[in-house]
Amino acid sequence: MIRSLRIKPLAVAVTGALGLIAAAGAAHAFEAKISGHLNRMIMHADDGQRSEVFHADNINSQTRFRFTGTQDLGSGLKAGINWEVGWTSNPSDKLNMTTKSVASTLNERHVDIFFQGLWGKVSLGQGDGAANGGMEVDLSDTTVIQYSGVQDIGGAFAFQSGGVAGPTISATTNNLDFESRYDRIRYDTPSFGPVSFAVSSGTTGDGFDATELAANLATELGAGKLAGTLGWSSEDRGGAVGDEKTVGGSLSYLARNGFNVTVGHGQREVDTIGTADKKFTYLKLGYKYGKHAVSADYGEAKDHAAAGDKGKVYGIAYVWSPQKWVELYAGLKQHQLERPGTSFDDIRFLSVGTRIKF
């Protein structure tokens, strides 16, 4: 009896979804799709005290699947859904020397309804904030293993000082990419030439109200392509922290000959008097040739975990895409933490893995 009660809601949902598909009128274009990818890697980590090998889901682009559907409503209006779910076993940003295994979890990424017309697009539900990804615009084609979100691989590892664990990589070197995904309402303007704008407002996963603004650019320029985002966000965290404001952006240029350069800079401030602004700066140089892409990057974070902290990361990456649906990659990076009065060991990662779209 209990079993049947548990199954019933699922059966009703599936029946309803299939019924919706079947009932869609023939007069308007209707489309429903399932797609996704798996992204797994083997990661060797050395924190100066010990070294270990980990099997991880690469959080640069975590394993996921999605259902998407659109329906023309006539008069140039379109309605749609985007339901995307992540499925990660051993996420690369949660593993460390004491946690070699993390149970699989389903995590919501997008549960989004949208309406789109010549006037732009309104989205309602869980999804990207207007500025999410604004610090991560990148045309290098090596982002699957190397991008400004340097905390996504090895973020939970702690810097060691004489065998004593200190702050983690995530706490000291973070790309300050605004408010990520949350429950919000978002409006995207139509494109004005190569520029578009977006605004969103909602409640973040931490339960704080957030507002974001972004200006996006994507244009062919000279003998190449230029893409970038400038963003601003405010999260009302209350108490002594008050409003946490982030401003920043990133810009990436890909020349026709394959050379590419990516830069990013962001700052975050809180209302607390005497608290230094957090800063993050990123530079990446890359080269693409046929099915191969290589890059080298450098990132620097200031005043994240404590005033005076300077977190640095530099690395190299290689991605080979023998088919459009598969990428094989390798990356090597080193994190450093400089803190007045304390000496920390560097943390090194060598990662090899593959992302396959199914």
């Binding site: 598909i21 079947a22 009932a23 869609a24 009128g25 023939a26 007069a27 274009a29 209707f30 489309e31 429903a32 799709k33 399932i34 797609s35 996704g36 990818h37 640069n60 999605r66 559907g69 140039g76 995307e84 990804g133 991560e136 615009v137 990148d138 045309l139 084609d141 982002t143 699957v144 991008y147 494109s191 030439g193 190569p194 520029v195 603004l213 200006a215 996006n216 650019l217 994507a218 244009t219 062919e220 320029l221 392509k225 230029l226 400038l230 601003w232 404001k245 401003v247 700052q267 209302d271 008097i273 608290t275 602004d277 088919q323 459009k324 649906w325 598969v326 396959i356 779209k357 199914f358």
Partner: protein, 128 residues
């Protein structure tokens, strides 16, 4: 120490700088393209889904994955109907036109090239 009173001013300045930067770039006048983050699910074909890159549950009959649920009205326009396929192609063209997609811009360039060719042929025949 950071002065609290200077913060709104600095924030405003940053937003103004950001807006000015965006507007300056927009003045470049280059051709727009659709940027997609490569940390998202990649575009293009998939291991199991072939060229479609997705299991198509419902949509134009010519693109639907075999075995997926159909929809009302399919019987009126079977997948092998040349007229239906032509109609779907027309709708795809209309969507491309609305979105000013690269394919549509290429189509406009091709049309312009046809006009140029006609003009050149007329000019050449006139000069003979």
């Amino acid at each position: 120490m950071v002065q609290a009173s200077s913060r709104p001013v600095r924030a405003t300045l940053r937003i103004l700088c950001a807006s000015a930067f965006a507007l300056a770039l927009s003045a470049c006048g280059g051709k727009p393209f659709e940027y997609r983050s490569s940390t998202e699910i990649p575009e293009g074909p998939g291991l199991l889904t072939g060229e479609q890159g997705a299991i198509v549950l419902a949509g134009p009959a010519s693109t639907r994955t075999p075995g997926s649920p159909g929809r009302r009205g399919d019987a009126l326009a079977p997948a092998d109907s040349a007229e239906f396929a032509d109609y779907e192609a027309f709708r795809e063209f209309r969507r491309a036109k609305e979105n000013r997609s690269p394919e549509y811009r290429e189509f406009l360039e091709w049309k312009e090239y046809q006009q140029y060719r006609d003009w050149r042929n007329k000019r050449d025949s006139g000069s003979r």
